[in-house]
């Protein structure tokens, strides 16, 4: 039997030197990136990092706790508008406004969690859908929120630093995403994350093990909303302008799609899925600009897919990705990764360290990390 301190390796993210090296490489790449990228690309990265934050929140609710939400754009809106109003109306510094935005959104998450105690599956989906739609309607009819015209976001400052350029925002947003990924990962390997997943797998068993199901379900909604609201606050300073129309239903759908695409319940999956969907969402027309293929896709879209006469290849590709994910690999990118690992064999794939480098080992992901008593494993030599 092992001595007590050794058990920490069970829940430790960065085990051994290799995973630290990978983390260092990742951090170095992320730090250098804005210095070498063309200016407009930095905005893309900021946008994708915000999607990652939302994806982490979605993963807590949908992936871990097994509750569906089609209303997360509403949380994004609440976070964005609260953060901006805290700055303009209350005069709070951005560093205070952002967490307040997250906390206010968490409160709304808690409230939306209450009906979830009695509803499941499609019924919960409809309630959350209604929530998402209602939020933007209410915001649009309220003068305080700038009505349908929206609000101009003032330049945020962090103490002496003005967040006016995309590069300074990049470090704030990507840094926040990294910290939140680490937090989400820690939560998922400890008591609260286990309770979430227990509810997903068997509510009855969880309750008879002493888990207060009502508490953890609403907590999951609140946490998920807090992540999304924080993303909303960051989105506001990224775009510089917010209006209710930005937080449409398709965005909620996109948020759900990205955790499904990434692999439900996997943090690296949520991160990758969010990056992919964030890019797609921003660069919807990138497909039409592809050489050779672009015009073909565009004419196909005009001829068969589009109802309003606008090119919608991006949306079609998004939809296709979801359908293909469900059909081919329901566990998404994360499942694909595991499958690849099995094909390539244990030797070549140090899944654990690789996921570690993404600042979030798949806690609930069961097989990949845990099985590695191999090269990257704990020096104590485990089981």
């Amino acid at each position: 039997m092992r001595s007590t301190p050794d058990y920490y390796s069970d829940v430790q993210l960065f085990r051994g030197r290799r995973s630290w090296v990978k983390l260092a490489v990742l951090l170095a790449v992320l730090a250098i990136l804005p210095l070498i990228l063309p200016g407009y690309r930095i905005f893309t990265f900021n946008y994708m990092a915000i999607f990652v934050i939302v994806g982490l929140g979605m993963n807590i609710l949908v992936g871990d706790t097994g509750q569906v939400s089609l209303g997360h754009a509403g949380f994004l809106a609440i976070g964005a508008f609260t953060t901006v109003l805290m700055m303009t109306e209350v005069g709070a510094p951005f560093l205070l406004a952002l967490p307040v935005g997250g906390l206010v959104t968490a409160l709304f998450g808690f409230l939306l969690g209450l009906p979830a105690l009695r509803l499941q599956g499609p019924y919960l989906a409809i309630v959350t859908l209604g929530f998402g739609l209602a939020v933007t309607q209410i915001i649009g009819h309220w003068e305080l929120f700038g009505g349908h015209m929206g609000l101009v976001v003032p330049t945020a400052t962090l103490g002496p630093i003005s967040l006016s350029g995309d590069v300074s925002k990049y470090y704030l947003i990507v840094g926040t995403a990294l910290v939140l990924a680490l937090c989400a990962r820690n939560l998922s390997v400890t008591r609260v994350g286990r309770a979430f997943r227990a509810i997903r797998d068997s509510e009855i068993a969880a309750a008879t093990m002493g888990v207060n199901v009502a508490y953890y379900k609403t907590l999951s909604f609140a946490l998920s909303a807090a992540f999304t609201g924080t993303g909303g606050g960051l989105l506001a300073i990224t775009t510089g302008f917010i209006s209710p129309g930005d937080f449409h239903f398709l965005l909620s759908l996109m948020f759900l799609a990205m955790v499904v695409f990434g692999g439900l319940g996997s943090i690296p999956g949520a991160v990758l899925g969010s990056i992919a969907m964030g890019y797609l969402n921003l660069e919807m027309d990138a497909f039409e600009e592809l050489p050779l293929l672009g015009p073909v896709l565009e004419s196909f879209s005009d001829g068969f897919m589009s109802s309003a006469g606008l090119p919608n290849v991006g949306w079609v590709v998004t939809g296709l990705l979801i359908v293909l994910t469900i059909l081919i690999e329901p566990k998404g990118l994360h499942g694909l990764w595991i499958r690849l690992g099995k094909i390539v064999g244990r030797g070549g794939m140090d899944t654990d360290a690789a996921t570690g480098a993404l600042a979030g080992a798949g806690a609930s992901s069961s097989s990949p990390g845990s099985a590695s008593a191999g090269p990257g494993g704990p020096p104590a030599g485990g089981n």
Binding site: L187, A198, G210
Partner: protein, 256 residues
């Protein structure tokens, strides 16, 4: 007063009376078997005791406290653990994580401390380590160490049954409800599990309430036996007394 006492327990589902005025008492550190044909209300009784069903009438007393009407997680916190007839494990989770969930009520890490597990000296990490050490003991006791990291849905049926029992033990209960632990096991596995249950009672000073279809096992282990038929108690006593009871013979073999 008895350690555990059920009095006049009744459960109706619409017009069906699944449990009809059942009363019994269980002494501390004994094994109490509940037997009876299929549909006789055994599992319903367990569901009423563990709070999954709210009894229509009657009361459940445990350790000097009235627990009937409480929610399942409140009952769990008072020291009652159970297993299920149809396995209710957290299928996507590893064996160790299933057992760790059994430690839920003994652990103290909440959201904030969980989010902020920065290194091995933080509260969350210490909480994990201490409880993993305790769970390790149970893994070894029930011979599950080899499947520690495997997702439980990949395990054979008999092993899953053992994981469920281990998870219940991880709760460190005072009273353990075991619902058909040997269903689907072969003779060898069944004997082994019977021995394990007997040892648990002795080692952990555990009180066990056992539903078991295999009469030899149920009778062999039990200090007291209750026989249910169509939701009604038809006999209760030591295994010897029950075995000779004419109503029991009738219930199991028919009127003849």
């Amino acid at each position: 007063m008895a350690f555990f006492a059920v009095e006049g327990l009744t459960k109706r589902f619409g017009g069906l009376t699944a449990l009809d005025d059942v009363s019994f008492e269980v002494e501390r550190a004994t094994i109490f078997s509940v037997i009876g044909p299929n549909g006789s209300g055994k599992s319903t009784a367990f569901n009423c005791i563990s709070g999954i069903h709210r009894p229509t009438a009657g009361s459940v007393q445990f350790d000097g406290e009235q627990i009937s009407g409480l929610g399942p997680h409140h009952i769990a916190r008072r020291g009652i653990a159970r297993t299920f007839q149809n396995i209710e494990l957290f299928g996507n989770e590893s064996t160790i994580d299933n057992l760790m969930l059994g430690r839920h009520q003994h652990m103290t890490t909440g959201v904030w401390r969980g989010l902020a597990m920065l290194n091995g000296r933080t509260h969350a990490a210490r909480d994990e380590c201490e409880n993993r050490a305790r769970v390790q003991h149970i893994l070894e006791l029930l011979d599950l160490d080899a499947v520690r990291e495997r997702p439980v849905r990949e395990l054979p049926y008999g092993t899953q049954k053992r994981v469920e029992l281990a998870r219940a033990l991880a709760m460190e209960p005072k009273l353990l409800l075991v619902d058909e632990p040997t269903a689907g096991m072969n003779a060898h596995e069944r004997t082994e599990l019977g021995e394990q249950l007997g040892r648990l009672r002795a080692d952990l000073d555990l009180t066990i309430l056992l539903i078991e279809h295999h009469l030899q096992l149920a009778m062999g282990l039990a200090d007291q036996v209750l026989v249910l038929n169509f939701g009604k108690p038809i006999a209760q006593g030591t295994p010897e007394e029950v075995r000779r009871h004419p109503d029991v013979i009738k219930a199991y073999l028919g009127d003849g």
